[in-house]
């Protein structure tokens, strides 16, 4: 094991290592980050949701965009799988359908980075009940 000989060494080491804990740090404070939920029920997995999820994570790393990527159960849009819900901080979540890895790149480049809306948005046809507000 290489010795840490100076404060610079320590800082370098930290930068290398913090990526491993990034996921935990971010999810400790989820409201400040872009949250992506990929539907990973049987229909989603069959339609390629795993590739979509992997691409979200890869692309976010390449572009240095901070994302929290989680998986969720079936959202009910089985006709449009793979689907993912993207929530920018302080905004309402938007669901994108018919995803593939290229589409993921587009979402990150256009919607997440610049807030531009792109094709493939599924109109929201439900309301989520927030238990805290009843």
């Amino acid at each position: 094991m290489a010795k840490v000989k100076s404060l610079e060494d320590l800082k370098k080491l930290k930068t290398q290592l913090e990526n491993n804990l990034n996921l935990r740090e971010k999810s400790d404070n989820p409201d400040g980050y872009v949250q992506v939920k990929v539907a990973m029920a049987t229909c989603g997995i069959a339609a390629g949701a795993r590739d979509v999820m992997n691409r979200f994570i890869e692309k976010a790393n390449e572009e240095k965009v901070d994302l929290i990527v989680t998986q969720t159960g079936c959202m009910g849009y089985c006709y449009a799988e793979p689907t993912a819900e993207v929530k920018l901080p302080g905004k309402d979540p938007i669901v994108f359908g018919y995803l593939n890895p290229q589409k993921v790149d587009e979402i990150i480049d256009k919607y997440i980075k610049n807030g531009e809306l792109i094709e493939g948005i599924i109109p929201v046809n439900y309301q989520t009940i927030d238990k805290d507000n009843i």
Partner: protein, 596 residues
């Protein structure tokens, strides 16, 4: 390098390991491997989450799902449902006892909402056996900052300004202690960590050592830099095998990285740490006794002065601090004295870790800002009293502290307020008692502990506590007289004034505080009653003839054969033969047996 998409944090503290969390980790890893997910999901063994009541705990990141009471056999379901399909396993979620609904993530748990975790910042977040995870969370950065930006004097100033006070019991200002130790010139000095946690019901130091050992090492190195010491010693009781094991791993890793040893981080500072084992004597938590024990002498306290800062281990200047105190140091250096002193009350800054135990719903470890009220701690974070019973008292500060009652619930907890109400902070154990607890018996319990643990050096503690214990014993056996209550007052105040060490001086506190707050109960015992119905001398088990169906269930369990009666006829208890064990009452399905 694998990019994990999901982290499963599994508690590896002593409590959860006792409930097979080690086996759970193995099972999770096996299931992940068979599903080919071992490169996507990382299983991390962490330190204590504090929610020991419901262990073993599994926390799923990134969605903060908080699974409780997870058994090794649940591994498959968690992976198949949650990791593969994204569906939470609802039967393992924590159920809020007040709202009776499952809480999906830890952010919505009342247990965590009021907490600020400084000393426990890494517990339940990082793998304590991996220095890399500690470094990734700014570990050893405080050491780097102190070495490069501050002189030793300036570092001490930061600690002084932060208002950090010793978390071991007495609350002496830490910065001042460091300053004293730094003033005595000697080429051999020592930094000692007091990990001899002896209060019954306290386990915060153990959890910090198990969950975040590097924070203690880092703070000790910083202290070494401040006072000019090259040697660190951790005095830990041999009853903490897991903490010892993790400390050893941490020390070895720090040495490999050169964070312990010669010329740390390229500076002129050299520092190394050794572990010393204690045999688990309560008195060895007192700093002079601790030092004697490390020297190989009997663990007995000596009169201060000289303080250890002047003549401590081997007669050399020594600084002794408690585990929790050290755990706060790196954060203070990194975030600054002002940040720390903005938390807490006027004279007690920062946060305090409390170990909740006794008749409380959420037994566990919590960290709250100083100034939080007992009510918030017990009823909001602690979830209230078990089985819907009424709150009676809370013992803070272990055998050195006192019992606080209903009327103290709204005082903000800090060092001064607790002393003013007749208790003390102590190391932060909180034992909650309900209406079924007899306060005389509680006082007797603590005194028995003190008598057993007294080192015997000074007469007030050795003889005085023994006499008090005998009196309490007579009271609970129904042989009490009203003079005995006066004697307790007398003995208590004399011991308080004359015992040699801090532990002896505070040992009558449980008796004195219960005398003050529950005087009626003592009087009742003299009169031949135990209001809580706990002291066997005063109670009788009686069978209510109307309710008894003559099922004979009680006769079969009675260990002394004291219950007689014909089948299908009401039974009776022979009071002379009855040893009042209460087994019959627990066995009776018809509530026909009552305590009188």
């Amino acid at each position: 390098m694998a990019q994990y998409k999901m982290h499963l944090l599994v508690c590896g503290g002593t409590g959860c390991r006792a409930s097979e969390s080690t086996k759970l980790v193995e099972n999770l890893q096996t299931v992940l491997r068979t599903n080919g997910l071992d490169n996507e999901v990382q299983v991390v063994t962490t330190g204590c989450f504090g929610f020991c009541e419901k262990g073993p705990i599994v926390k799923v990141m990134p969605d903060n799902t908080f699974y409780v009471e997870v058994k090794p056999k649940d591994a498959e379901e968690i992976i198949n449902e949650h990791a593969i399909k994204g569906r939470k396993v609802s039967r393992l979620l924590y159920v809020d006892p007040k709202k009776e609904e499952a809480v999906s993530d830890s952010k919505h748990m009342g247990f965590y909402q009021k907490q600020i975790r400084i000393a426990l910042r890494n517990c339940g977040f990082i793998n304590p056996e991996n220095i890399d995870e500690y470094i990734a969370r700014d570990g050893y950065a405080a050491l780097g900052k102190a070495l490069t930006e501050y002189s030793p004097e300036q570092t001490i100033d930061v600690i002084k300004k932060s208002g950090l006070r010793g978390r071991g019991g007495a609350g002496f200002p830490t910065g001042l202690k460091w300053e004293f130790a730094s003033k005595y010139k000697d080429n051999e000095k020592y930094v000692v960590c007091n990990a001899d946690e002896g209060d019954p019901g306290a386990f915060m130091d153990r959890s910090i050592l198990e969950g975040d050992p590097h924070s203690i090492l880092e703070a000790m190195i910083i202290c070494g830099y401040c006072i000019g010491a090259r040697n660190g010693l951790i005095y830990i009781r041999a009853e903490y095998p897991l903490a010892i094991q993790r400390l050893k791993i941490a020390i070895n890793q720090a040495r490999e990285y050169g964070l312990l040893g010669e010329n740390i981080l390229g500076s002129s500072l050299s520092f190394d740490i050794e572990i010393r084992y204690g045999a688990g004597a309560f008195v060895c938590g007192e700093e002079t006794a601790l030092i004697h024990s490390m020297e190989g002498e009997r663990g007995e306290p000596t009169v201060k002065p000289p303080f250890p800062a002047e003549a401590g281990y081997l007669g050399k200047p020594t600084n002794v601090n408690n585990v929790e105190t050290y755990a706060s140091v790196p954060v203070i250096i990194l975030k600054g004295a002002d940040w720390f002193s903005s938390i807490g009350t006027e004279k007690s800054k920062g946060t305090k870790v409390f170990a909740l135990a006794g008749k409380i719903n959420n037994v566990g470890l919590i960290e709250v800002p100083m100034g939080t009220t007992l009510r918030e701690v017990i009823f909001e974070i602690g979830g209230g009293i078990k089985n819907g019973k009424a709150f009676k008292a809370v013992q803070t500060g272990g055998p050195s502290g006192g019992c606080l009652t209903e009327k103290h619930l709204d005082i903000p907890i800090d060092f001064e307020n607790l002393v003013a109400s007749g208790s003390m902070m102590g190391s932060g154990g909180m034992i909650v008692m309900d209406e079924d607890d007899c306060m005389v018996s509680v006082a007797k319990f603590y005194l028995e502990f003190t008598v057993e643990e007294s080192c015997g050096k000074c007469a007030p503690c050795r003889v005085g506590n023994k006499r008090m214990q005998e009196i309490l014993d007579q009271l609970t056996k129904g042989n009490g007289t009203s003079e005995m209550i006066d004697q307790l007052y007398n003995l208590g105040s004399v011991i308080k004034d004359t015992a040699l060490c801090g532990l002896g001086q505070t040992s009558p506190n449980p008796v004195l505080s219960t005398l003050q707050n529950f005087h009626n109960e003592y009087v009742a015992h003299v009169e031949g009653r135990c209001p809580a119905g706990q002291c066997r001398a005063f109670i009788q088990f009686l069978i209510i003839a109307k309710k008894c169906t003559g099922c004979t269930a009680c006769t079969r369990v009675c260990p002394t054969g004291a219950i007689t009666g014909e089948r299908k006829q009401p039974h009776t208890i022979d009071q002379l033969a009855c040893i009042k064990c209460g087994v019959c009452q627990r066995k009776c399905k018809f509530n026909a047996i009552e305590v009188m």
